[in-house]
Symmetry: C2
Subunit: 595 residues, 2 copies
């Protein structure tokens, strides 16, 4: 029905007869002729309908309104001198309309396509098919498609087999967040939607597939934070007979090629590798944004004996921490600004935000300004400022509390200060976090939790610590962080049945439960399991970063809202009682709803 | 950890030091040395451990059993003359082992990997990771991966955008077969898993995406027949501004390229196009296997006035049919064989299977053998045999009943006869079925049903029949049939809101229900919907055909059984009461289970 896309016409097509299809972006009547900007996926072209040239198509053009769907035949010509539009790819030419067929009319859309008008997200999602007509929205989906294509290409070329795994599967112990699906053939029993294909990809390694990947939908029924969705897309990778260094190097190559092809941006390899402990010490969190040139500095050793309990107690305490964060030029912060930052760190549990402004460091105590000066002896102040590298005009913030609170609050404050004060460097900052602990002690339920997942292998040299000191045992896990966002995580997996059982026991999963839930994995490990490992990338988040979008909802074709609903289709919805009966389930009435 | 795959070694690698990883396929002790066939994804290689060459690795090799996982360093050498194995890709060479590292041991597997032993499907699925070690099983997955890769490549190159659509979505009117997912954030409400992304891909066309494809998981909770699965994979395609001929031609090109690249087999284009009515008339069904050179022949007009009610009544009746099916050389069928075929057609509702054996046609009635001869006058017999083209030695079967019963029973009989008597030609026989009716009258609920789905457009020239004679209205649908299996189906869609509403009403979907279930589609059609259409292919079935597999379960990485269960993970399973409570649902006890 068309000979060309609207957006591809140029001076190369002068004098050619073309047939175009598309949407009316805008109509203008001017000087007795009608101008229509016709839009398709590839761009805009100006059509001209002249009553003297083609009276019939002119008459049709008079009926046309925004978002009507047209088929137009015409001839490509130069725009008259002085009317070229350099902002438009096709701006040198126009099409003189010979024939106009109205393919479909349109009511006035709920919001205009051709204007940059800000529209509420709810209405945009409800009319997602109008929203996607905006070139920038469509462009995001095109980039998503290009990114996934390039990733597949890279992996295909390296012998990774694209293998699909079930969506209807078994519930897992992290099952509280599983979506469930009642089975009609087995009433009272349920499938679960996978949070990841972790166990299936491990079984594929036991099967000898050797190199696997999949672009796969995963599901997690959790309270939705700003950038979570109940269903999300993962690039899932697993390989046998390789060590973590080989896998990380391969992934770096993959990212390098991805950024070179899709964004035409070089990435420098190898990426920085940073131990988890260092990330916490210097940045307070395990996904540091290295584009922000601020660092946490340890000062606990200086504070152990000061008279200021707020500092001295955490400094003396084994799980305490006292750290400083210097903001160059921050001396000019107002009382109000400091107050706002104090409230900000309170979100993370910090009970206050001590600070020192450095007016003129050479004058010692006299050259500083701070409510806590009086508590600190001269030599402590001196040594501290020396270590922090404080300069005149700086402000230094302090965190002093349980280490986890200091890390989270100063880690977040560091990022906020970086953005508030324009300190974030341009460009891409990928890094690997390595040497994670296997386990974290959870005080809520008084037991060890896996920092990654229960199938992560411990480091060979830490194997004996599994028994002696689980908290000190490091894993063979690695996370990929990009500009302060975790975009991927993986590990070398446990390939020995007895190590797997040992880890289950440490995590409080008894032998019976392990057999019940993971019997098939424990079996598989006994029948010749190769050493293997892999990684999974959150594609939505990666595309969000690469397209510079504000939210993953911008890069998902049909996203759900924060309450996990779809304003477009109205899902979730009511279903017929008969259908539930057939599935062997019923809806409970909430107590307040009893009638 | 490896320098080469086992299966890739050849005389090109002679004298090279290699490091291999893999599974012990078999160990043999012979002449004081140990031979191990080591297996990986790419094939087998013979390892030799010689106590004189490397005593240590020989000692290790003595401990090795089948399916142990090894890393081996050694040198590639020619096999001694006379010991080459021409059946093996690597059969000219072997690797003299210098170092053997046991990476993992293996218990005796539940069935042997290296033998062609037939193993029950249930045990194969339960230990799918062992089953997949069999080269032919893995080969099927590799071909699946290659087929999908090639299809993507073709579509990528033609500007189709790979766009993903939601898995958690709204229930549809065919909803009785939807899998449901209770929502935790909206207790008492449910998502449904999609039977296809039909409406989303249409919305993408309204959005101006222009060309879309997706390899997508779909779900249908139905009683599982031999080759159905609760979840299956579809290649889903949609495009705007093109007619059915353009779409079919593009798909032919896609199949041509697919068969050329993956199977190295030419397909001839254009594919045959056959109207639905012709398919029923000549083959009794809408997915004829043209490799079988048998055809149904209409004989009803000859039977209208015969004295034989069994034939005369269907011949006179408007929905009746009398048809003949000739099996060349079938005159030698035994009474028992004919009896078996009679029972076979009874499955499809046929009350009997009349036949005539043609012994010597020139002798007229005397040269025939049949229980029904006595009912038929000479001139009818003569005209009929003439039309059928009966030759000496043939048998002619008859179907006489409601047309639907005749079609189904003789259609199935035709296929069975083709297979039983070796009449199926080799090769690939793709064809399009076109000119489908829009609607079928369903006697069970006394209303029209859509032959395809409610979004299929009627033919322009039949538009007026929508009101006057819905049963005669043909649609713009097309099915692709390959060797008697429907591998794809699609249509040009309705792009006018009022036509869509009219079709909904015809299907008994009231305006209110239509608004409730499809309001978003009806809305979308009003805001500038382009003419569009598409198709969806059942990938599992296509891969099954292309790999010559007996069932789609052979080509799905982790299939479910006929009762929709997974013997590997045990899904579906019980879930905790607390979890159900959180989802606002409960399990109903079956009445028999009350305690």
């Amino acid at each position: 029905m068309r000979s060309h896309y609207c957006g591809e016409l140029s001076e190369d097509h002068l004098e050619q007869s073309v047939t175009l299809c598309g949407w009316v972006n805008r109509r203008r009547d001017h000087g007795g002729v009608i101008f229509i900007d016709l839009r398709d996926r590839e761009g805009l072209i100006q059509l001209v309908f002249d009553p003297e040239y083609s009276p019939e198509s002119f008459r049709h053009a008079e009926q046309i309104r925004s978002e009507y769907v047209l088929q137009v035949k015409g001839r490509v010509q130069h725009r008259p001198e002085g009317t070229e539009n350099p902002d438009l790819k096709t701006g040198q030419v126009e099409v003189l309309g010979q024939e106009l067929i109205l393919l479909n009319a349109s009511e006035t859309p709920p919001f205009p396509v051709d204007e940059k008008l800000e529209v509420g997200e709810d209405i945009r999602l409800r009319y997602r098919y109008i929203d996607l007509r905006r070139p920038e929205s469509l462009q995001r989906l095109r980039l998503r498609s290009a990114i996934i294509r390039q990733l597949r290409k890279f992996l295909d070329e390296r012998g990774f087999l694209d293998i699909d795994t079930p969506i209807l599967t078994q519930s897992t112990p992290e099952g509280a967040r599983d979506f469930l699906v009642p089975s009609r053939t087995h009433p009272g029993q349920f499938f679960a939607l996978p949070q990841s294909p972790q166990l299936f990809k491990q079984l594929l390694m036991v099967a000898g597939v050797d190199r696997y990947y999949q672009v796969v939908r995963c599901f997690r029924d959790e309270d939705l934070r700003a950038d979570r969705q109940p269903e999300f897309t993962q690039l899932d990778i697993e390989a046998s007979f390789l060590h973590e260094e080989a896998l990380m190097a391969l992934m770096e190559e993959m990212f390098k090629e991805l950024f070179a092809t899709v964004l035409e941006t070089p990435l420098h390899t190898p990426f920085i590798r940073m131990p988890y402990a260092e990330a916490l010490a210097c940045f307070g969190l395990d996904k540091p944004d290295l584009r922000i040139p601020l660092r946490l500095v340890e000062v606990g050793d200086l504070m152990k004996t000061v008279d200021f309990k707020v500092f001295a107690q955490p400094a003396q305490n084994r799980d305490g921490r006292v750290a400083a964060l210097r903001l160059p030029g921050g001396g000019k912060l107002s009382r109000k600004e400091i107050e706002d930052y104090t409230q900000f760190v309170a979100i993370y549990g910090a009970k206050g935000l001590a600070y020192i402004k450095v007016i003129e460091r050479s004058r010692g105590r006299e050259g500083l300004q701070s409510p806590i000066l009086k508590f600190l002896p001269d030599e402590v102040i001196g040594a501290m400022l020396e270590r922090i590298g404080a300069e005149n005009g700086d402000i230094v913030f302090f965190g002093a509390d349980k280490a986890s609170i200091v890390n989270e609050s100063l880690g977040a404050l560091r990022v906020k200060l970086g953005h508030d004060h324009g300190l974030v460097e341009h460009g891409w900052s990928p890094l690997w976090i390595i040497d994670f602990p296997m386990f974290e002690w959870n005080e809520d339920d008084d037991r060890w939790h896996a920092l990654h997942h229960p199938f992560t292998a411990p480091k060979e040299e830490d194997l004996s610590l599994l028994e002696q000191n689980p908290g000190a045992c490091r894993s063979r896990a690695y996370d990929l962080v990009l500009n302060g966002t975790e975009v991927g995580g993986g590990s070398i997996r446990i390939s020995q049945a007895q190590v797997q059982s040992q880890v289950f026991r440490l995590l409080g999963i008894g032998d019976e439960e392990a057999q019940d839930k993971f019997g098939f994995l424990l079996d598989a490990l006994k029948y010749g399991c190769p050493p293997h490992g892999g990684i999974a990338f959150g594609l939505d988040r990666l595309v969000m970063l690469m397209t510079g979008s504000a939210s993953i909802r911008e890069v998902i074709p049909f996203p759900k809202t924060q309450t996990a609903a779809c304003p477009l289709t109205g899902a979730p919805g009511q279903v017929a009682e008969a259908q539930l009966r057939e599935l062997g389930i019923g809806v409970r009435r909430p107590p307040s709803d009893k009638t």
